[in-house]
Symmetry: C2
Subunit: 350 residues, 2 copies
């Protein structure tokens, strides 16, 4: 099986020559699109949308119908994995994700098991296969997972947190328990990403949303070390093609050299990092993905184009750059601004 | 006038030899102390507490009565400055600070004026003088202000923000307007800090709470450049003694070399930065302040001591380290944990 017709995204990740800098946006299928809100209404809830492969496929394709994006990303939620581990994911109105049974007692942690993704997360694999069929080799499909530490944050806190007090108390007081959670979650994430690759994902991204809230030494021990094991155990080739991996630690700009050393093909940068400096720091070890401030999309088309050109020029010439935002697109973004951005990126000659 | 009896804090900032590593905690006079809550109740409101010099003095001294801290910090709020500019600071219950008249229209921005701190912020200067008398040269008193960019965030957003959408839209669309706000606020902060020094503050800290939410180039243009001007215009000596300045950009770990170059005496580090690496990066240009994760204070005494020793060892031998947390102490902190921390720091021989 050959690469998709537009394979600039895969080529940039592998630092092969590209026709133009490819672009996709984190959370590109989301609430800023009226058609997404329509489908979500029909689904009845966000979780129904995630768990119905046809609806997940429908919303995955919506941003590609509007914009000339160079990759699709599976529509799902990072918390489906702990949900499949039995923690009982639910969404309280206006409150974000919660778990009915967060990990609090030692016996719950000892009992934790990695789910079989082909059984307990079958709906995700079905969505991946259906999206691949629908894409018909136009652009590549990205699979993804939360990082073990980020998943553990939600599993221990029981939902979002402002200060991560519960998991950090565990980290300082009972590192053995946190390591046990991370061990099991690492197995779960590895199996989950490999099942997505087997089902048709052509690249994978690990979202380490909360690793950047850790002290540097704890980041290495409790987040990066586990992502390194996952990257090592990922399926490297499928249908004769390399399956690249992207590691994105939000707030990880201080640790790029360490991230580049774990064997991933690319690093996602949040918007605070200067992409030119990042390139000098990681050299030719990895490709870079990012990193426009999502809030720039609230400015005028002209300001959006200027900011995009600044980042493209900052990266410099040659392949190895996948343009993206430095974080998920805001639900309040005017959809027409995304057209201005995608056009500006594609007009640039890398 | 001589230095205070315990001047280890000032000596560490100036990288002169110390007897032990000095320690103070950001927000050390705060809600985790029952005696603070008692005084605040008597004051009727947080703003009353800030605006009454005797009560502000009382709460400033409370943590020093409990713990062997090596510096006092003026009890006040960073938003008293925009309040004095006429924006109308108020605190809605459980919602954090708000302004009645946030800066939205161009004419409001054009009309903005720096207040005379000795008139409009007289209550702060009176508190500084009263605290100095009460301290009776036992330990130094730190004065402080928010950074111009951090103050501008609240002035433009009208309160706290999750995404800083309003100010960032202004930054990308109308940088001229944001620069105008920052110009006036820089004058206000400079005058305010110099008035604190004239009233008796023996060191000053600039809190740049939100500069770390900016893209690197915007941090330099909209936050760091203005702090550089303030540092240049600060009163350098008072009563024959050098008045050191500390710049603390939360989330600024990527930019330490640039911060060290603006002429401040010390850089505050948040808890994500490795203090040993920070020291290697800034060399002997500045002292370092920080940087324990405030959440470590929820672990056991033994874990607190271990984490403190890890940071002290990470800094290494010699002067130039003021121990602190990497952010303000949490209101939920068990007060007895602070004793364990202060003892551990003082037992260490730098």
């Amino acid at each position: 099986m050959a690469r998709p017709k537009n394979d600039n995204f895969l080529r940039a990740l592998l630092r092969e020559p590209v026709d133009f800098t490819p672009v996709w946006l984190m959370r590109q299928a989301g609430r800023y699109l009226p058609e997404y809100c329509e489908t979500r209404r029909r689904a009845g809830s966000f979780l129904n949308l995630c768990k119905d492969p046809s609806l997940a496929c429908e919303v995955t394709l919506q941003p590609l119908a509007r914009y000339g994006l160079d990759a699709a990303i599976l529509f799902s939620d990072i918390l489906t994995v702990p949900d499949a581990m039995g923690l009982g994911l639910y969404f309280a109105d206006g409150e974000g994700p919660k778990f009915e049974r967060p990990l609090r007692d030692e016996w719950e942690i000892r009992d934790l098991q990695a789910p079989d993704p082909n059984v307990h997360l079958r709906y995700v694999m079905d969505a991946v296969a259906e999206i691949r069929r629908a894409l018909a080799d136009s652009v590549p499909l990205i699979g993804f997972s939360g990082s073990p530490f980020t998943l553990a944050c939600y599993m221990v806190e029981g939902g979002g947190s402002e200060d991560f007090r519960t998991i950090k108390t565990m980290l300082f007081d009972r590192p053995d328990l946190l390591h046990r959670i991370l061990e099991v979650t690492t197995t779960a994430v590895t199996d989950y990403l490999n099942a997505q690759i087997e089902s048709g994902a052509q690249a994978v991204q690990i979202f380490d949303t909360w690793g950047g809230m850790l002290p540097a030494h704890a980041y290495r021990e409790f987040s990066l070390a586990y992502m390194e094991r996952i990257v090592a155990d990922l399926i490297k080739r499928r249908d004769g093609e390399r399956v690249p991996s992207i590691v994105f630690t939000k707030g990880g700009g201080q640790w790029l050299e360490a991230i580049a050393a774990i064997g991933c093909d690319a690093i996602g940068l949040d918007w605070t990092t200067d992409i030119g400096e990042a390139r000098r720091r990681v050299g030719d070890k990895v490709a870079l993905q990012g990193n426009m401030d999502p809030m720039a999309l609230f400015a005028s088309d002209e300001a959006v184009r200027k900011e995009a050109r600044r980042i493209l020029a900052g990266y410099g010439s040659g392949s190895g750059h996948v343009f993206n935002l430095g974080h998920g697109i805001s639900q309040h973004t005017p959809p027409e601004r995304v057209s201005a951005l995608v056009d500006a990126v594609h007009q640039h000659r890398p």
